[in-house]
Symmetry: C2
């Protein structure tokens, strides 16, 4: 048995143990090929099967119809901040963004760098991004409406998505894709760095509705065009094959071991209710997100002092509970409880929190 | 013991067995962290050490002085085809390229897409890219001079690099970096997708001389600027951490098990001399690259007929010699014998070639 902690890191994050064990087991000889999956050609039958399986599972899990294409790209959400306005702007139409903190703010900045006509149609900056704006104004004539479904740093999450009729919704779902069901119909494009809820760092999942591809300007550099990836099924050049392989295994685990997205959503709700229930039952720890906007993925909280926070993080680590430090830009504590975190991890965290509070409260 | 073949794939390619075994061994618990290296934070001490080690080994192996920065990016050489002209053009100065086939041709195309003033100063297109032009005209007033050090498809390789005094040399070294020593001084930038001679797919090594960074236009999107990676030590956003880790292990193997670049170069020369020596000693197989331009990394050859080539590839695979098919754009056969291919693999290939020739000649 290897030593394993409960890993509350915000990303790269915990992966299902059964996935890691399978990677380990077949690392030297992938399915009788006599090669590691890292060594097989991206144009071989072995990798072609890996890629097609990951695409098919993504489509099944999210209920995507044939209008949606699943692409595997590189560069993380940060690269998408640049590519979305570059590819999907539409003449002089405004690009509408909702600003719910750091990642939205960066996405807005990258659109502005390109000289695009950006409008921030809603923002929670007034209360330090501790909530998701309740009503999002929808201009059906905008080029698109961009949201960040979950803010890892502030611990906020959209409970309901805006429902535009015509303007395509675009979302950075890096930190909560595959955590719950949603209707994909209003979305023109969804992107997600895999390293939080879908796999290891090094691959970016992009789901694009076919009509969006018609917007891509012909003169863009080849590697910066969504059409390049769509037309070549993500194989224009060598893809990050190992990261795609592990992501595929995580999706297999989600479908076959966790019982699919409906069951995963139920479990994620249970985990979130457990920990927020505890936070609301005492006054040593203080949750920092407004209750109606609380994230099921990243639970942010403070202790009475920074000194106590330091002691809390150290003792948690000693007790096999890692990665609980808040983002360096806001401080405090954060428990990231993505799909791969079992309910036992959340229970262990709460037990530790109770114990720490009783000794230091 | 796992079943392992001799893997002659052009990339993703063979990795050292000891590296794969180490990855396998520490996959569930990286150095007592209780996490996989895929699960640790990119801002943790664990990953910081991995990154610094990979940078330090790159600098030692290539003899890079303090003017050079080592960056880890994503998107492969194809992304660099776009970023090099975008970042390193200089006013109205021409961008000089040497065209030695597919990859050079693509690099030239991407510079032209951006409307840059491109000059092809030398080309081997006249004889189907089967050689490296002997004399490369050097205009010291150009913005840069771009070459592709090794052409995987045609099996050609620069034996000596051009030696400009002032104009920075830029090279795609995806398929032969770390295969031999060279003087880095004339190079302004070197890039290499890791998946051939340095690691798995999913990370791109970029070596940039500091004066090149002064050229980067301020208004570029953040993720498309070399300065972003240089200023943040490749940690502006989540890097492809697992691919960097494996690359670091390959460089450790190169330094500590293979005895460094001098010894690696000697071994690569021996492997190349063995197989080209055999090719020149008979007339069943025919090498396709002109002798003075032959690559030490990719050995391209034809058999008397396509039918025989098909049989050759099938029987080679059955004999544990994989990945010998030529690139789909040119057909024929190709043995990629990167650093990780032991001399025993080349010997086994030659034995098989002799046997096949005697039965089918």
């Amino acid at each position: 048995m290897s030593y394993r902690i409960f890993n509350f890191n915000p990303g790269p994050a915990m992966l299902p143990l059964s996935v890691l064990k399978q990677v380990q087991e077949e690392l030297l000889d992938y399915k009788g090929s006599g090669m590691s999956i890292m060594e097989v050609s991206h144009r071989s039958k072995w990798f072609e099967d890996v890629l097609q399986d990951a695409i098919a599972r993504t489509k099944r899990l999210l209920g995507l119809d044939d209008r949606f294409r699943v692409l595997f790209m590189q560069g993380g959400a940060s690269m998408q901040f640049c590519l979305v306005p570059m590819n999907l702007a539409l003449g002089d139409k405004p690009l509408d963004y909702v600003d719910t903190g750091t990642w939205s703010t960066k996405a807005i900045k990258e659109a502005k760098i390109q000289g695009k006509k950006v409008r921030v149609v809603a923002s929670s900056e007034d209360r330090e991004y501790t909530y998701i704006p309740e009503s999002i104004p929808i201009d059906e004539d905008a080029a698109f409406l961009h949201i960040t479904s979950n803010n890892t740093i502030r611990g906020t999450q959209f409970r309901e998505f805006p429902r535009p009729k015509k303007v395509p919704l675009i979302s950075d779902m890096s930190s909560d894709i595959f955590s719950r069901r949603f209707d994909p119909a209003p979305f023109g494009l969804i992107y997600a760095g895999a390293q939080k809820n879908a796999g290891p760092a090094g691959v970016t999942l992009v789901i694009v509705r076919e009509d969006m591809l018609e917007r891509v300007p012909a003169g863009l550099p080849t590697m910066l065009k969504y059409t390049t990836y769509a037309e070549k099924n993500s194989l224009y050049n060598t893809p990050p094959s190992f990261a795609i392989y592990v992501t595929g295994l995580v999706l297999r685990w989600l479908e076959e071991e966790m019982g699919g997205l409906e069951h995963m959503e139920k479990t994620n709700r249970e985990k979130a209710e457990l920990i927020y229930g505890y936070l609301d039952s005492q006054d040593f720890y203080r949750g920092t997100a407004e209750p109606a906007s609380r994230s099921w993925m990243n639970v942010t909280f403070r202790l009475p002092s920074e000194e106590l926070e330091k002691a809390f993080l150290e003792q948690a680590q000693q007790n096999g509970l890692g990665g609980l430090k808040g983002h360096r830009s806001v401080g405090g504590c954060r428990a990231s409880i993505y799909n791969a975190m079992p309910i036992e991890g959340v229970q262990a965290l709460i037990e530790f929190m109770k114990d720490f509070a009783s000794k230091n409260g």
